[in-house]
């Protein structure tokens, strides 16, 4: 049973560029959430997708957008990259509903130079 998988694992981008990160949820899960984790901090909620729609969003600018596909996989897009966007981006999947356990992938390390 595959867990949550993310790609790429590491990438380096230049300020102003755009990046797309990908996530496949754990088998049987229909809900995907994205988190940003800066070095030495706890993860910060970006948004959650369910039934191909953004269901809830954290305190992130519109430069952060996402998508969920019919097979429940998801993408996170970040436009006009800033140095401060350098972080570990974590995808988490769960069954829909509140209070369910969320399972994380290994993350994508983004470095903006």
């Amino acid at each position: 049973d595959a867990g949550v998988t993310q790609s790429p694992t590491h990438l380096i981008k230049t300020r102003g560029q755009q990046v797309t990160l990908r996530c496949s949820p754990k088998s049987g899960h229909d809900t995907v959430s994205w988190y940003q984790q800066a070095l030495g901090q706890g993860p910060q909620f970006i948004f959650q997708y369910y039934e191909e729609e953004e269901r809830q969003r954290g305190n992130f600018p519109d430069r952060f957008s996402g998508h969920q596909f019919p097979n429940y996989s998801s993408e996170l897009n970040v436009n006009a990259l800033l140095l401060g966007d350098s972080a570990l981006y974590l995808c988490a999947s769960s069954l829909q509903g509140t209070g369910n356990t969320i399972y994380f992938g290994e993350g994508s390390w983004l470095t903006v130079v």
Partner: protein, 112 residues
Amino acid sequence: SQQGEEDPQALSIQEGENATMNCSYKTSINNLQWYRQNSGRGLVHLILIRSNEREKHSGRLRVTLDTSKKSRSLLITASRAADTASYFCATVTTSGTYKYIFGTGTRLKVLA
């Protein structure tokens, strides 16, 4: 701020000792989850305790509730070097939302 706070921020113990970490929030805590993160890796789910539970066990892990302090603690018994990691608590602080709020983490180092 809704962010949870774990204390201590860092903890160093000898192998075989017990490690206790506390997680507190300014608001009421709903279901609480604990995660472990090895350096630079993803978060591994350890244990979920629901708001109506006072204590829960899973192997060498024990989670307890202190309602007066709005906190819950994670106890790791008979620690091993492999337990060295950062530990985070996470909760949904507003009923009916899907946004998990994570604490700042406790960095545990178990010395062999």
